[in-house]
């Protein structure tokens, strides 16, 4: 009974503040604004800077949700290798199987976080140049598998002369 009374009294105070002064309101106002202006952004799915544009994800996607878009100005990633395209995911077709993520050479060869993730790629942790300098960690089967999906020029850039 005493605890109940204490609960009522303390509760009466905090809740009076809540009712009258909107005290500790938990509704997120930034979410409210973005919804009212219909500007909720989907989470980012591709890190353009870290992608090498090999098209592996495009080839492996079971529902053809990925489209490779041409870059306006191709970027020279390493000497002699130009990145001309990056993937874009159509989320309405995507089934979130993460095949794209798991096939991407950045992940499957170097074991780093891939620049594509249908849910949320997150923050880049390394630059592409740093990744490409790392030793290749994948077993030969994986590389053989991957070479069916991406152009041979790309494979040689990835593995060229950097075997452990």
């Amino acid at each position: 009974m005493i605890t109940f009374l204490r609960l009522m009294l303390t509760g009466a105070y905090t809740n009076a503040l809540r009712i009258l002064a909107k005290d500790d309101r938990a509704t997120s106002m930034s979410i409210r604004n973005s919804i009212l202006t219909l500007s909720v952004q989907p989470t980012p799915t591709v890190l353009d800077e870290m992608c090498i544009g090999c098209g592996g994800c495009y080839n492996v996607c079971p529902t053809k949700a990925i489209e490779m878009v041409k870059l306006e100005t191709p970027v020279e990633v390493v000497e002699g290798y130009m990145k001309e395209q990056v993937p874009r995911i159509d989320l309405l077709k995507c089934i979130y199987c993460l095949n794209c993520h798991d096939t991407c050479p950045i992940y499957s060869i170097f074991g780093e976080a891939a620049p594509i993730h249908a849910r949320d790629v997150g923050m880049p942790r390394m630059t592409l140049q740093e990744v490409l300098k790392k030793p290749v960690k994948a077993p030969p089967e994986t590389i053989a598998e991957l070479s069916k999906l991406i152009p041979s020029s790309t494979i040689s850039i990835i593995t060229g002369g950097k075997k452990e």
């Binding site: 609960l7 074991g111 976080a113 849910r119 790629v121 942790r125 077993p139 089967e141």
Partner: protein, 393 residues
């Protein structure tokens, strides 16, 4: 199900679901009542049947594991993790310790979100909207953390064979965020739990109803917090090597009623916080994934894991091409069902539904291979029954 007692007179049947505010998930409760007192209860759990086990058959093992995560949206991490544990066991794949730590971390994150959604659900069923909303609000902290770690609030997709996705590796700033959020959460959470225990109106609703004695809990294979609230000390985490480095208590209460099932989960959240602190403080360095393995023939292997609601089992084999064969899952709720059906007997209808909710039913995972004994010594799937008899009798 309790023993059929044909001398019992049953006045009428009430049925709820599959679309119903108290259930959310599709299943059907049939209550057999006298006046308002439940005499027997049957839970029909096949409404979310997706043919999961058939889907696995013949898939390359890495792809199959992504389906395993989709068994359930509350235990998503558990299923993904246990699915990879099967092949890691079977083929002897080493998992780097850092990966194990992070798997445990996500597991405990999800345990907290799962227990808090339980509070949300249970208090919604008690009729206390405010407490339900506060639980969901507290839960947001950990939903955010899951989003940071795995990239999604519900499906973090963290474990892969041999470790975890590098996407989910913990950076230093993330570690700091986790600790900060946990501390902020702990203070508010303790207040919240105290508030519940102090409230005589709420306690009067949950105290002493839905009795499930220890004997019954063991007899009906109640598992997880449902069993532990009935005094049955059984927590698979104490046996798992992944949990060896951590220090935590197994919460066992012996009230056997709805109140204890709530309190048990409330206390388990605090234990999970303890584990999270230890993970973040002692996280070993090193790689997060071991990629030196190839799928090859594997005999049937089984792995067990303590999920948020009890023990889950996954078992499958790989054929000579490395394709998954004969996947089977036994989830905690399926073994809790009989206990639920038993526990709500003898209570008022509204309380019976609360009792069922207090066992934390979530049935998406249970509804796969559906085999029913029609009483004539032969089994039929629902499909066959409906083809033969139509929708209703």
């Amino acid at each position: 199900m309790t023993e059929a007692n044909n001398e019992k007179m049953i006045e009428k049947e009430l049925s709820f679901g599959p679309v119903h505010p108290a259930l959310i998930e599709p299943y059907r409760i049939r209550l057999f009542v006298n006046d308002e007192i439940v005499e027997d209860c049957e839970i029909n759990i096949n409404m979310a049947y997706r043919g999961m086990e058939k889907l696995f058959d013949g898939l390359p093992v890495e792809k199959a594991l992504l389906i395993a995560e989709r068994v359930c949206g509350i235990c998503s991490h558990v299923h993904a993790w246990n699915a990879v544990r099967v092949i890691e066991c079977g083929l002897g794949i080493e998992v780097p310790p850092r990966a194990d730590y992070i798997r445990v971390l996500v597991q405990e994150f999800q345990r907290i979100t799962s227990h808090l959604i339980f509070f949300g659900h249970a208090f919604e069923v008690v009729g206390h909207e405010t407490l339900a909303m506060r639980a969901l609000l507290l839960r947001e902290q950990f939903m955010d953390l899951m989003q940071y770690v795995g990239g999604n609030r519900v499906m973090p997709s963290v474990p892969i064979i041999g470790g975890i996705r590098p996407r989910a590796d913990l950076t230093d700033s993330l570690k700091k965020t986790i600790l900060e959020r946990c501390d902020a959460f702990e203070a508010k959470y303790a207040q919240y739990v105290q508030r519940i225990l102090d409230d005589p109106l709420v306690i009067s609703r949950v105290n002493g109803i839905g009795l499930l004695t220890k004997e019954d809990a063991i007899k009906y294979h109640a598992t997880g917090p449902t069993g532990r609230a009935s005094g049955w000390r059984y927590d698979l985490r104490t046996e798992m090597k992944e949990y060896k480095p951590f220090d935590f208590n197994v919460i066992v209460l012996d009230g056997c009623d709805t109140k204890d099932r709530v309190v048990d989960r409330a206390l388990e959240v605090l234990e999970s916080l303890k584990i999270i602190h230890q993970v973040v403080k002692n996280l070993p360095d090193g790689p997060v994934v071991n990629r030196n393995w190839v799928a090859k023939e594997m005999p049937f292997t089984t792995a067990y894991l303590e999920t948020y609601r009890g023990e889950v089992m996954h078992t499958y084999g790989l054929d000579h091409q490395g394709l998954v064969r004969n996947y089977q899952i036994r989830t905690p709720t399926i073994t809790n069902l009989a206990a639920m059906e038993h526990a709500c007997v003898g209570d008022h209808v509204t309380e019976a539904i609360l009792t069922i909710a207090s066992c934390d039913p979530c049935l998406t995972c249970c509804t796969r291979t559906e085999v029913v004994d029609s009483g004539k010594r032969r089994t039929m799937t629902d499909y066959e029954i409906v083809r033969k008899y139509g929708w209703r009798k």
